[in-house]
Symmetry: C2
Subunit: 298 residues, 2 copies
């Protein structure tokens, strides 16, 4: 099997396991109030790359940790990511009708339910961490709670979304655009890797190297997103091409041009590989994921 | 000092300490993005009885625990409560313009910021628990994370709000009304007491007694709320009298009549007192709080 085919198989296998874990961790849509659980599950199982939990699990694997035991922890990253999409799509926010080619949550369930489903998905992540079998590792799980909440909350992802909205309609400065990307997507991607490292008892040097790797691919991922928004294919993106520009959002291609943006992605990817080279870990999957992220066309 | 004056002083002292703790735990509105932190703090410091953290602290006190050490934990209850008010007031939800006599969050900051401020306050609660000084008590704090998330989330408070919205405009059954109240307000009030009990290392029998107390006063509190909505004074409530009825919400007076509702409150209060009588705890404050809750006029 080629490396590419092998990675595809690896990602597909992990995605299936993550979805199985989420299915067990989120209330079934057969109990009252059904529409809340329907709405939560609609967005949770609407597809997607499952990049965040995959990063958590690949990091656990790199450290020789227990991937099966890490599955609920990995699932919490996807719950947080999904809640953020549901709320970002709301009419009062980005007002998006489609996400991954399907109607957004509020288009199906209405605004009120979408707000509540988002709230519930966010809270569910902490419910999972606070009630899962700790097996004597309560201190590690508590630290993961802190890591996840810090990345998702007022000085992390939410600050990024706030900054993104405030800068709509005006060309953001380079500094401001870096802030938006580091917080809106970077914080949770970095936490995905760091949480895997904490779960698998990485030492401080390993945590540092993995954090650096995650920050590089997090930014590269976002710049690729910006590039795809300019030149991508609507069908593959599942949303309108040029949507960011239409909303007056600042992007890397807008600020730096397409060529320089592509160059930044290449540079960041090289740096991500280098960050991992210094530590004695089985990082081949993490390296492959870095390459996959920048070469994706969707 | 009369018992009543003494309780008033006690509640005022605790409220001040809780607000001091929250002030330290929530990002200052002087850092970027300012409007997010402004909005979070606007609702967090908009007054209110601070009933939930007071219950946590009074429970810690009843068990002879360390009230000062419990302060950040108590503050997380108020953060969760505040987030729920901010989201409940949104146009897509209850569409309220005033809360405690002041414009609601979205009337000042706009819908998008109000949604994000709510998300951030919810997440902040878990950030506090996950990053506070654990002093070797990580297992207890992790259990508190689970308790808080379960009470606030998809099978707790959010389920109650969902049920409340679904039953707007139609007379709910007795069973459905009980579900709404037990989840929308009961779950977090009960968690406030249980979290105090966990923090102060209560034994299983004490936790059971305190849980029963909390469930009784939680329901009594909500029925009193319903009664005040019918006969209260708009000025004191800080919102329009009869707002529930106008929104077609089912209430205890509507379903059972005013007299029977008042009788239920009396019965529940007696039961709350009885629940505490069996355990050897300094529960005088909790007893006083129960009486204060049902005799309040606002």
């Amino acid at each position: 099997m080629s490396e590419k085919a092998d990675l595809k198989h690896y990602l597909r296998t992990l995605s299936a396991q993550i979805e199985q874990a989420m299915d067990a961790l989120v209330p079934a849509a057969t109990q009252y109030p059904e529409s809340l659980y329907d709405s939560m599950r609609y967005s949770l199982f609407a597809g997607g790359k499952r990049l965040r939990p995959v990063l958590t699990l690949a990091t656990v694997e790199a450290l020789g940790g227990d991937m099966a035991a890490a599955m609920p922890v990995a699932a919490t990253l996807e719950m947080i990511h999904t809640y953020s999409l549901v709320h970002d799509d709301l009419p009062a926010m980005d007002d998006d009708d489609f996400r991954r080619g399907k109607p957004t949550n509020h288009k199906i369930y209405g605004e009120a339910t979408a707000i509540l489903a988002g709230d519930a998905l966010l809270t569910q992540a902490f419910q999972v961490l606070g009630t899962m079998e700790a097996k004597g590792r309560e201190a590690v799980l508590l630290r993961i709670v802190g890591e996840l909440a810090t990345a998702a909350g007022s000085i992390g992802m939410v600050a990024g979304q706030m900054a993104d909205m405030e800068n709509e309609g005006s060309k953001a400065s380079e500094e401001r655009l870096a802030f938006i990307h580091a917080h809106k997507t970077g914080a949770l991607l970095t936490a995905s890797v760091r949480i895997g490292a904490l779960f698998a008892d990485a030492d401080e040097q390993q945590v540092q190297a993995l954090t650096s790797y995650a920050q590089k691919i997090g930014l590269a991922f976002q710049i690729v997103d910006d590039i795809l928004d300019v030149e991508g294919v609507a069908e593959k993106l599942g949303k309108a091409v040029g949507a960011d520009a239409a909303q007056g959002k600042s992007t890397y291609p807008l600020l730096y041009g397409l060529e320089e943006s592509r160059e930044m992605v290449r540079r960041l990817t090289t740096e991500a590989h280098q960050a991992l080279s210094g530590v004695a870990l089985r990082t081949n999957r993490l390296q492959e994921i870095a390459d996959w992220l920048i070469n994706r066309d969707v």
